[in-house]
């Protein structure tokens, strides 16, 4: 199994980090369901969901190898670009303090409170636990499937690196969840989303450009330049947003006083 590491390396990193964020969010719900409703139904629900997602990746991945890459590069590149810019957009606003950061501990507590109010057979076989765990893993996992398939569609032989990144994230999050038995609220989710947003935006820009006939200087190495470019723009944007919000607050305080 030989990879072109100029694309495979960033693909593994992007798939790992993006999947990690999604799995952390799914883990929070699974832990809340498991602690309140019991583990049998919860683990079975989560396991069936992971199995279904793996099946979808295998199915779409094998179909992907039969489609000429140039034909889908513009479409996939545009989707990855929109996906990446959306994450980066939110991460910038969170970094500037304009929208609230994702708080896994608070979500965990809210979920537990909601579950305690639910009726049903909490015990050996709990249908509610199965459905809730299945639903949360499927919903968060849908994003992981998209990320893996989209990253795999960017170049020949990228399905394995993308899948490896996502599976490694699943293993790490699963293991950490097993060890700490609490939501992973100390993982800097916003920083992860910031980095993933930068990586996916860079990939999306590169592939869309290739599909539109852009000749990238340095070929695949241009991805590194795009990553540096987006990182610079995003950091400047956070500073500008903070200043703007700060200036607004000062003005309103001045008017009030």
């Amino acid at each position: 199994m030989f990879f072109d590491w100029t694309q495979a390396g960033p693909t593994i990193v992007a798939a790992f980090l993006a999947s990690m964020v999604e799995f952390i969010e799914a883990l929070t719900v699974v832990l809340a369901v498991g602690t309140v409703r019991g583990w049998r139904g919860t683990l079975l629900g989560g396991g069936v969901a992971v199995g279904s997602l793996l099946f979808v990746v295998a199915l779409l991945g094998s179909a992907l190898t039969r489609i000429p890459l140039d034909a889908i590069r513009v479409v996939v590149g545009t989707l990855v670009l929109l996906f990446g810019l959306r994450w980066l957009h939110k991460a910038i606003l969170r970094g500037a303090g304009i929208i609230a950061r994702h708080d896994e501990a608070a979500i965990y507590t809210r979920q537990q409170q909601a579950l305690r109010g639910m009726t049903g057979n909490a015990g050996r076989w709990d249908k509610v636990a199965f459905v809730l765990a299945f639903k949360s893993v499927i919903l968060e996992g849908t994003e992981v499937v998209f990320i893996v398939i989209a990253l795999a569609a960017g170049g020949t032989g990228l399905l394995w690196p993308a899948s490896m990144g996502a599976l490694a994230a699943l293993a790490v999050v699963g293991l950490l969840g097993l060890l700490v038995h609490r939501p992973l609220s100390r993982v800097p989710e916003n920083t992860l989303k910031f980095v993933v947003g930068v990586l996916l935006s860079a990939f999306g820009t590169f592939w869309t450009g290739e599909g539109l006939g852009v000749v990238w200087p340095g070929h695949d190495w241009a991805i590194g330049g795009l990553v540096a470019g987006y990182l610079t723009v995003a950091v400047i944007a956070v500073v500008l947003c903070r200043r703007r919000v700060g200036a607004g607050r000062q003005t309103s305080t001045g008017v009030e006083s």
Partner: protein
């Protein structure tokens, strides 16, 4: 269980958060595709132009959300 509506909404939300930004990105890509071949700029600069346009769209969009209210 999970309704089709939820899945469709989730899929849409994967790509679109700020509709204006999404529209601007798509318009910019169409412009790059249609106009750049007609402008006398070396092909190696097209990528830089594509990136700069996207960077401006992203910055303007976040600054719009950072408006003092």
């Amino acid at each position: 269980m999970i309704g089709l509506k939820t899945i469709v909404r989730k899929a849409f939300n994967l790509f679109v958060d700020d509709v204006l930004m999404t529209m601007a990105v798509l318009l910019w890509l169409i412009m790059v595709w249609l106009l750049l071949p007609w402008i006398f700029v070396p092909a190696t600069w097209w990528g830089v132009i594509e990136f700069l346009g996207l960077a401006v769209i992203l910055t303007v969009s976040v600054l719009h959300h950072a408006r003092p209210r």
